[in-house]
């Protein structure tokens, strides 16, 4: 993963809800294997930014350029919907805060993990099932639950299943929206450790939105701090948290509960 080009180049990006901007003037580069945390409190625009970057919300202004696996660089605003759908099937993942938004709750766990493989052309049932079982194991879900639907799972298991469903296609870029915030503290630690090791193992690039600076500290290389829809500070995660420059970041850092 020594590519000399960023995977994602974001310049002057903004999304407006009517005449009010949810986020604006955002510049960032994301490199292969890099984890970027976007932090800020609710209403800061971090989820709007994630939605805009992941093409779930329209781009009101600015450009997003993405380097596809074959090396070509595309301007995401200019490619067809079919091309975007192909990227979702083969190169991107999105992990929602609420697992129910990313899973098919009444389809078996094995089906949830196997479905993305079938969408990319896998046809051999035995291989799909074996790969699904392998992924359940990687995300620490007992393989004997493979035929159970996620409605019967705990919150932590559902979230781990959603991660397996996203990572099974070996994506190059994964977006995560507060993946741990709906979970109990003990379950959060387990999930974070899992995300941290899978990301390192697979060399993924990831943009993770979180209001929890501890999450940013634990898994990200770089951090972007947002307030009122704009980036107030960004840089190496250690430095943003240990030597915050902006008044708002200092306030955020000083508000961390010491455990």
């Amino acid at each position: 993963m020594n590519e000399a080009q960023p995977l994602l180049e974001v310049r002057g990006v903004g999304h407006a809800y009517g005449d009010r901007y949810g986020c604006r003037d955002v510049d960032l580069d994301l490199w292969p294997g890099e984890v970027l945390a976007v932090v800020g409190e609710s209403g800061s625009g971090k989820t709007t930014l994630l939605g805009t970057l992941s093409q779930r919300l329209s781009l009101t202004e600015g450009t997003i350029r993405y380097r596809v696996a074959d090396g070509t660089v595309v301007n995401l605003a200019e490619i067809s919907e079919a091309a975007v759908r192909r990227l979702w099937r083969t190169e991107w993942g999105f992990v929602h805060q609420n697992p129910a938004d990313g899973l098919r709750m009444h389809v078996s766990a094995g089906g949830n993990v196997g479905e993305p493989l079938m969408a990319t052309g896998w046809r051999h049932y035995g291989r799909i099932r074996a790969t699904a079982a392998e992924w359940l194991e990687r995300v620490e879900i007992p393989v004997d639950r493979i035929d159970d639907a996620p409605v019967t799972f705990s919150g932590g298991m559902r979230q781990r299943l959603q991660i397996a469903r996203n990572l099974v296609i070996s994506p190059r870029l994964v977006f995560m929206d507060e993946p741990t915030s709906g979970l109990d503290v003990s379950v959060q630690a387990r999930l974070l450790d899992l995300i941290r090791s899978l990301v390192a193992e697979l060399g993924l690039a990831m943009i993770i939105v979180t209001h929890d600076l501890g999450v940013a500290r634990l898994i990200s290389h770089r951090t972007l701090v947002m307030k009122d829809g704009r980036v107030v500070e960004s840089g190496l995660t250690d430095r943003v948290l240990d030597d915050p420059q902006a008044a708002y970041t200092q306030l955020l850092v000083s508000s961390i509960l010491q455990g």
Partner: protein, 233 residues
Amino acid sequence: MLTVSGVDKTFTMHLQGGQQLAVLHRLAFELHPGECVALGGASGAGKSSILKMIYGNYAVDRGSIVLQGRGGGVDLAAAGPRQVLAARREAMGYVSQFLRCVPRVAALQVVAEPLVDRGVPAAEARARAAELLTRLNIPERLWALPPATFSGGEQQRVNIARGFVAQLPLLLLDEPTASLDAHNREVVTELILEKRAVGTAVLGIFHDAEVRDAVADRVIQVETFASAAGTAA
């Protein structure tokens, strides 16, 4: 191998009405391969700040911190996040005062991680980690447990093992022996001398005069670079 020149550091505390705390002014020194230099001075003089500026945790207001590596020099004071991360990976180890525990990760893994991150095969990394934990008297029954549950002294020894496991040109040590007993202090002293012998440059804060005298060639008095402005509103 490390040239610090004209470095200033001032903290602006926005939550205290923008109060400025000037810590360092025109800090300058050089560090050569195989040398061990101690940072001396009272608490609050800026000793830890110097280590953190070199490692990249703190921003540098002015001046340069040039680290010579395989691919030439990089000015850490001006480097972007990716360059700082690359410099850490290739050239810098850092033992902080306290271990930052990652939930659920076993002590052996915590220590082996810097090697794995640098491409050493997992089995070899674990073997070298085990060797260091043994030298630092962490009983084997603890290796599989996350260090969050360890005593302060045990955590600090895990932290030291993690910082020493990779062979890197520069090692930054922030009071590595603060919470250790006499025997383990001696082990750490030996480990530092071994690093020096293979050419690692060591920059450290050593509270313990005995350890400092045993490992360091010279002491930089950080107060020499105290900002004349001091604390000013």
